[in-house]
């Protein structure tokens, strides 16, 4: 029996999961999703056993471990393991090695982003997943934001036409060529670690909305802000503004998707989604002759979606708005339904990692992706 959304008990299948990592991000954003997803937390694990025990108590797990191999060996009937850890000493995510070992032990694996520092590491996880016949979901949350899912739905509508142009904003420092080189070839833990960690967000959103681009060209301002230009095989264009230096307040991200049929979609602050449509001007009132803007029937004009923050609902919780619930729910459902995840796949993780590798090739040149 599990406790359902409405607080009542419901008899439905759940996956039994262990959790490697008891840090602050996991505390705020991943463990709490288990209240609302079909996950039974069987065990927690952290290098700090006392912390693992505290997390086990707080989040309802019967067991706690200080060693993940012991957890895998001793926990019977584990279906899956969640892995949310910090980076290694070189600033790289440890997920490829940890995930591969867990896959070999026969469990499905959920990993946080960034999934890896190189495409080769992602490919190794893909091979391990295939050999073990288990799934891996990488927590690229932007693909699961309700606002972004709505945007994807809107641009997929036949009336939208084809997307011709997209623009994304994300506040992120872009490293210099020297910094990339030091990180990748000498193992120096520098600002590239942060770039690897965060580029996942806009890169995964781009891949989710429009697919994998064909090429990248970018330029970098002295302070680390950058403009990145992506070209698609079918001619579509996308721009990513890495707005390092901006304020951290409301409206750090903005997504614009322009169609070729007189419509566009804007996602502001991952909260407000607007489908912009132009109502046709009344007969005889062309450009410069239309006294009232408020023309057109309701179904011809723009439409907007925004949650309320009045009621104790689920949809206004950060866990839901920021895609954490979605990425855990999809993982659990994929396991229960014995299918591959629809999003957050390792194939998408490889695409996102390729975009990172492309940035490392340096600015002001066309880079094939």
């Amino acid at each position: 029996m599990r406790i359902a959304f409405n607080g009542r008990l419901r008899d439905e299948p759940r996956i039994r999961a262990g959790f490697i990592g008891c840090g602050s991000h996991a505390f705020r954003n991943i463990y709490p999703t288990f209240q609302f997803t079909p996950v039974e937390l069987a065990a927690t694990c952290d290098l700090d056993l006392e912390r693992a025990q505290a997390f086990a108590k707080q989040f309802g797990a019967p067991n706690a471990y200080g060693d993940f191999r012991r957890m895998l060996a001793q926990e019977r009937r584990l279906d899956a393991v969640f892995i949310v850890t910090g980076k290694d000493a070189r600033g790289r995510p440890p997920y490829p090695a940890l995930a591969t070992e867990c896959l070999k032990a026969g469990v499905h694996v959920w990993i946080e982003k960034p999934p890896a520092a190189t495409c080769a590491e992602v490919e190794a996880m893909e091979s391990a997943a295939r050999r073990s016949n288990r799934i891996v979901l990488a927590g690229m949350k932007k693909m699961f934001f309700p606002a972004n899912e709505k945007a994807k739905e809107l641009i997929g509508d036949a009336n939208f036409g084809k997307v011709s142009l997209a623009s994304l904003h994300y506040p992120q420092y872009t490293p210099t060529a020297q910094e990339f080189d030091a990180f990748l070839t000498r193992g120096e833990n520098n600002r590239v670690a942060g770039f690897l960690d965060h580029l996942c967000h806009p890169a995964s959103l781009l891949v989710y909305l429009l697919g994998m681009p064909q090429s990248l060209w970018y330029d970098r301002a002295p302070n680390g802000a950058a403009v990145a230009h992506f070209r698609y095989a079918d001619g579509r264009l996308a721009t990513l503004l890495l707005t390092h230096g901006q304020a951290r307040d409301g409206g750090m991200e903005r997504t614009l998707l322009v169609g070729d049929a007189g419509r566009h979609v804007v996602v502001e602050n991952n909260l407000r989604v607007t489908l912009h449509r132009s109502a046709p001007a009344p007969e005889g009132e062309g450009y410069g002759r239309q006294p009232s803007y408020f023309a057109g029937a309701p179904e011809q004009t723009s439409a907007s979606w925004e949650p309320e923050f009045s009621l104790g609902q689920l949809y206004n919780k950060g866990l839901f708005l920021l895609g954490y619930w979605g990425e855990v729910e999809e993982f659990a459902r994929a396991i229960l339904e014995q299918r591959q995840p629809r999003k957050g796949t390792l194939a998408q993780a490889r695409q996102v990692t390729r975009i990172f590798e492309a940035f490392a090739e340096g600015p002001r040149k066309e880079i094939e992706l």
Binding site: G7, F27, N29, Y170, P171, N269, F309
Partner: protein
């Protein structure tokens, strides 16, 4: 405010949550991750549910009766979420049993219920608080901060909107202690008005044919307030908007997620001014809006809507042996007086001091 994560050290209040329902599941239990409590026990009439909740949220024990919770002897407080009709009885029992009590809103079905709790609190010497989250929302606290700073002058008027309706037959509603939305949720905007402007002297409720209407309040300071009971408006999208107007400026709270402080100093030339951006930067409106990009605490609904903060204030008051200053039973009584006045007004002003006579 001192956030203490559940696994961090420091003094903690030993508590039991009484009431394992949907609201507690969505909003109360998750808030405990950030408040200095040790969840020792849970209590619910349904023993299976109580056990499940205990296991899920790390409590040692599950109970089905409040008297067993009190009899444990190892608790400091209870967090009560069982519905207005039951809050006074259970809160009094817990206070008299030596426990501090936090309860969800509404505190009772009438002023009398709150009065009984005030008396029980007085006899017990324990702390009691009501979870009026609207008083704790960061958006409301910013409005209050602007009011107290006084840089915009004195508050002159306060308006708000909430999809709401006051039921007809107010005297019967009170007598029957019937649940209704004016009680269940009307206390939300009422608590915000009381928090910002104090207990009104008079309240007049005007009803529209579909049940909505306006509630007009006059405050001791001379300020006036108007709550638009916007029954019929859409739910799901932004539902609330509050505006506090001062002598030289105003503050707007949109959707409890965006606060604009409109300051004096912008040039205003009625006949010849053509540039809305003219004037010094310090006269431009200030905007406070949380971002929904980074996984911080301030964009979590349990913080945006004041759930964590209302619990934290109660817990800190108990741990430090200080008075509850927000969400006190006295404020709860003022809110319930407004609730009753709204039921009994029928379009005529009700002096809150004369409510006992009106009730008969």
């Amino acid at each position: 405010m001192a956030i203490r994560l559940s696994h961090e050290d420091g003094p903690r209040l030993r508590v039991a949550v009484v009431g394992c329902g949907g609201h507690a599941y969505r909003s109360v239990f998750p808030s405990l991750d950030y408040v200095a409590v040790d969840l020792v026990a849970v209590c619910d009439l349904d023993p299976v549910r109580a056990k499940k909740y205990a296991r899920r949220f790390g409590a040692q024990d599950a109970h089905t009766r409040l008297k067993d919770v009190i009899a444990r002897g190892d608790l400091d407080a209870i967090l009560l979420s069982v519905g207005a009709p039951h809050h006074p009885e259970l809160a009094c029992e817990a206070l008299e049993g030596g426990l501090h009590v936090w309860m969800e809103k509404p505190p009772s079905t009438d002023v009398g219920g709150v009065q009984r709790m005030i008396e029980a609190r007085g006899r017990s010497g324990k702390r009691a608080a009501v979870g009026f989250k609207k008083a704790f929302m960061p958006a409301t606290r910013k409005m209050k901060e602007v009011a107290e700073r006084g840089t915009l002058g004195a508050l002159t008027s306060l308006s708000g909107r909430y999809p709401m309706s006051i039921p007809h037959g107010g005297m019967n509603v009170l007598a029957d202690k019937k649940g209704n939305n004016w009680l269940g949720n009307g206390v939300h905007p009422l608590s915000l008005f009381v928090f910002l402007a104090g207990r009104p002297d008079t309240l007049t409720a005007y009803a529209a044919p579909n049940g909505g209407g306006f509630v007009v309040m006059q405050f001791p300071s001379g300020a006036v307030g108007c709550l638009h009971n916007a029954e019929g408006s859409v739910r799901g999208g932004p539902m609330e908007r509050y505006e506090a107007v001062f002598e030289q400026g105003h503050v707007v709270n949109e959707n409890n997620a965006r606060v604009l402080v409109h300051r004096p100093g912008l040039p205003f030339d009625y006949r010849r001014g053509y540039d809305f951006t003219a004037g010094p930067d310090e006269a431009a409106a200030q905007i406070f809006e949380t971002q929904h990009t980074l996984s911080t605490l301030h964009n979590k609904a349990i913080f945006l809507q004041g759930f964590v903060q209302e619990l934290e204030h109660f817990v800190e008051a108990c741990l430090k042996d200080e008075p509850v200053t927000i969400g006190s039973l006295e404020q709860a009584r003022a809110v319930m007086e407004c609730y009753e006045a709204g039921l009994l007004s029928g379009g005529k002003p009700v002096n809150l001091d004369e409510l006992p006579a009106l009730r008969g």
